[in-house]
């Protein structure tokens, strides 16, 4: 419709005069999928170590911004729903929630292709969804059902999606970084022209194996990008109590680093694109994403014994990633308030449907206890507790 085209492509303020008229006329204006570039400035400039910081000005477009909004809304809703499910004892064990940090996941995806690999630790639900994981796979895995991405045998900390090059999902912090450098090595070996993003937290940043892996990656010039998702608390310990030098982007020493506002999806996108280009030519680079988690470390941690509620609400008011995108969308008039609320309602319904579907899904068969231990069955026998009742062959 000509009027709506006029409205969405025109950046000027005069459009505001037409707004009430437009919403009256266009009963159903489709959400903008416009790809004309919009230029935005990141919230804060990048801080660089041993390299030239990329520009603060980011190119985006309506489609991308609306996708960001939707994806982050899905992630936020999913994590809140997981919180309720955990309290209802449908999810057991450890459950580490990512709400507040969504911008890192969506911004990274915007800069990468599915040929690039991502590996992270246990706070992996949203990263999995960013890599095209479905909500059903998430909730089924969390509840230990067959339809889960790891068939119910991995749990919250072990989400994997091989066909999208998402390598998990690891419980022991820091161990995923050498794995990630191994992925980068394989990419270089097979001449893939792709990169690996190995994510870790400020807690894991003090693990020795990180520096070992960084050393090897720098020596062998591997396309590895180490991303520190710095949410300032390693479980209950604040970063200044755990690290003598909390400037994680500088700790690579000889490896260049970049500090990024992790609550700004566009800054994350810019930094990741910059890092990808750098790593393909010059080897490893460290990105520090300055982000924040609203929940505690996991569901067994209230999250308020080591930080004040004011701090949490303060960050939520000033730096929330979804709010930032919402303001951008409204500023550039890419959608109305009501449309955004409708998207959120739609997302909520989607999440609820996935949960309902996952609840119906059956738990794994008992015989699955013994499957997938080995890649090729060996005829190894395994016994049940009393050594008589159950005898199965490990497959």
């Amino acid at each position: 419709m000509a009027l709506s085209q006029l409205a969405s492509s025109s950046p000027s303020r005069s459009v505001n005069l037409l707004k009430p008229l437009l919403s009256a006329i266009s009963l159903h204006r489709p959400i903008s999928t416009d790809t004309t570039p919009i230029t935005v400035e990141t919230s804060v400039p990048f801080t660089a170590h041993q390299c030239e910081a990329p520009s603060r000005t980011v190119q985006t477009n309506a489609q991308e911004l609306l996708n960001f909004f939707r994806d982050m809304a899905v992630m936020r809703r999913m994590e809140i729903a997981a919180d309720s499910l955990y309290k209802a004892k449908l999810i057991r064990g450890f459950c580490h929630l990512y709400d507040g940090q969504e911008a890192v996941a969506v911004g990274m995806e915007a800069a990468l292709t599915k040929k690039d690999c991502i590996i992270t630790s246990y706070r992996d639900h949203c990263t999995f969804v960013g890599r095209d994981g479905t909500l059903l796979e998430v909730f089924a895995e969390l509840m230990g059902r067959q339809a889960g991405c790891s068939k119910g045998k991995g749990g919250s900390m072990h989400f994997y999606k091989k066909d999208s090059n998402f390598y998990g999902g690891h419980g022991i912090v820091g161990a995923q970084v050498p794995l990630g450098c191994g992925l980068a090595f394989a990419q270089k070996y097979c001449k893939d022209e792709a990169v690996t993003f190995a994510l870790y937290g400020d807690g894991a940043a003090n693990q020795g194996q990180l520096f070992e892996a960084l050393n090897i990656s720098a020596l062998w010039n591997l396309p590895a990008i180490l991303v520190c998702e710095n949410n300032h608390y390693g479980m209950g310990t604040a970063e200044w109590r755990a690290a003598k030098s909390p400037a994680y982007y500088k700790r690579g020493d000889y490896a260049p680093g970049l500090k990024v506002d992790g609550m700004d999806a566009l800054a994350v996108k810019q930094a990741c694109a910059f890092a990808k280009e750098h790593a393909l030519k010059n080897g490893p680079i460290i990105l520090e994403m300055d982000t924040y988690r609203y929940h505690g470390h996991s569901m067994s941690d209230p999250g308020s014994t080591y930080r004040t509620r004011d701090e949490i609400t303060g960050v939520r008011q000033e730096r929330d990633p979804i709010e930032r995108i919402r303001k951008l969308i409204l500023l550039h008039d890419l959608a109305t308030e009501k449309e955004l609320k409708d998207i959120e309602k739609e997302v909520r319904k989607e999440v609820d449907d996935a949960i309902a579907q996952a609840k119906e899904n059956p738990v794994p068969e008992p015989s699955k206890l013994f499957s997938d231990v080995y890649a090729k069955g060996l005829g190894v026998e395994s016994f049940g507790a009393d050594r008589k009742e159950v005898r199965a062959t490990l497959a």
């Binding site: 091989k162 390598y167 191994g182 394989a186 194996q209 892996a213 997938d372 231990v373």
Partner: protein
């Protein structure tokens, strides 16, 4: 993959058990299609996804097993005049390992080697000598001294489909990589619901050497044995070293190949043609009637030395080199126990929690009815290996002790 449950009522998978005295290290095809040992009173079927239940024997592969009766020795056992007329070629164990590795690297471009000093230096035990010149720096990689991370990197590369061979300069150093080996290497296939396979080979020399000191004389097979999802094999002759190396590289499962510091200079004549050894199979070293002696790696030679004495004294021991430390080849072992009814285990691990301890439990549970005497297990002492030569000798099992044990067992 299929599993089976007790009492299913399906047909029992009868194993074509070959006569025990020619159950030599066959050259089997890589895919381990074997049926299950028939147990007294139990009936269950092993059904595989490929539908086969039988033992597959390569008819071309009957190599007469050479008995190696000397303890750790370097002299060749054939005169120069006759060696040219015999088939095959002679080489030392470390050369056999290298040959296996080189052939696999030629065959599959995804095979690469990572370790300390494996490239330009040629390997601290010369296993990888010449490979860096031939294959280049991207396939034979010198790593810094960072076992935790380069083992992790090997595992990460394996997740994408590469087939790295990670060398620990001494097996003891791999303790630093225990987390990676246990959690990532062993478990990723399971926790990802079967999405990732980890076709990695982790190898290196271990065991008690010649006065190397406590930290360089470790036997890691006892620590790794309970990690689910990995396979462990120990080589002892040039023939099985090459065969196991090749099989391990071709296997889709993560395999830990235990070599021994003192066995690298063993010489043997091995076939020219391509062959592999089955990873889950034990080797019949010397068939016999009176007692089953189960052993592996260096202790095989101590056992064979004791066997000479025992034969002179009138005993007829059956010696089996178990080779596969995880899983145990209970078929071969079981057939032997059913014949001799007496078991002696001779190992280099410590008494507490070693391979011998697990093997004792496995044999007791499965073949208790066939035993005429309690199983005897001779292991190393539960002490750090001392430096002084005489003390070191006393930490490991010596042939004289083996002779005494057999005499006691057969009383």
């Amino acid at each position: 993959m299929a599993t089976s449950f007790h009492g299913v009522g399906a047909a029992v998978a009868a194993l074509s058990s070959s006569p025990s005295n020619s159950f030599d290290s066959k050259k089997l095809l890589c895919s381990p299609r074997r049926s299950f040992p028939v147990r007294k009173g139990a009936s269950f079927v092993v059904a595989r996804s490929d539908g086969s239940v039988n033992f597959d024997l390569n008819p071309k592969a009957r190599r007469a097993q050479q008995l190696i009766v000397n303890a750790v020795a370097t002299k060749s056992d054939s005169s120069p005049a006759s060696s040219s007329s015999k088939p095959g070629h002679e080489l030392l164990l470390f050369e056999a390992l290298r040959e296996g590795l080189e052939e696999e690297m030629d065959r599959d471009p995804r095979v690469c080697v990572m370790g300390e000093d494996v490239g330009h230096y040629g390997g601290s035990y010369k296993v990888t000598r010449g490979l860096a010149e031939k294959f280049g720096d991207l396939r034979v990689l010198d790593t810094p001294i960072a076992e935790n991370s380069f083992t992790g990197m090997g595992i990460g590369a394996a997740m994408t489909g590469l087939r790295p061979v990670v060398e620990g300069m001494n097996m003891g150093f791999l303790l630093l990589a225990f987390n990676q080996i246990s959690n990532n290497c062993g478990m990723l296939h399971y926790t990802s619901g079967g999405q990732f396979t980890i076709p990695i080979v982790i190898r290196g020399p271990g065991g008690v050497g010649r006065q190397l000191g406590a930290e360089h004389s470790q036997r890691l097979e006892s620590y790794f044995q309970s990690i689910p999802g990995i396979q462990m094999v120990a080589c002892s002759t040039p023939y099985n070293a090459k065969g196991l190396m090749k099989a391990a590289i071709r296997s889709e499962n993560p395999v830990i190949l235990f070599e021994h510091v003192l066995l690298y200079n063993l010489k043997e004549r091995i076939p020219d043609e391509d062959y592999i050894c089955n990873l889950e199979e034990a080797e019949m070293v010397r068939p016999g009637e009176h007692v089953t002696i189960l052993t592996y790696s260096r202790m095989r030679y101590h056992v064979m030395q004791a066997a000479k004495t025992l034969v002179n004294k009138g005993y007829d021991p059956e010696v089996i080199d178990i080779r596969s430390l995880k899983p145990f080849d209970l078929h071969t072992i079981g057939n032997s126990v059913k014949k001799t009814h007496r078991v002696l285990i001779v190992e280099e691990c410590m008494r507490t929690g070693g391979i011998g301890a697990s093997l004792t439990a496995a044999v007791t549970e499965n073949f208790h009815d066939y035993l005429d005497a309690p199983i005897m297990c001779l292991s190393s002492q539960d002490v750090p290996t001392p430096y002084a030569g005489t003390l070191e000798e006393w930490t490991v099992v010596q042939p004289a002790q083996i002779v005494t044990a057999v005499e006691q067992l057969c009383k």
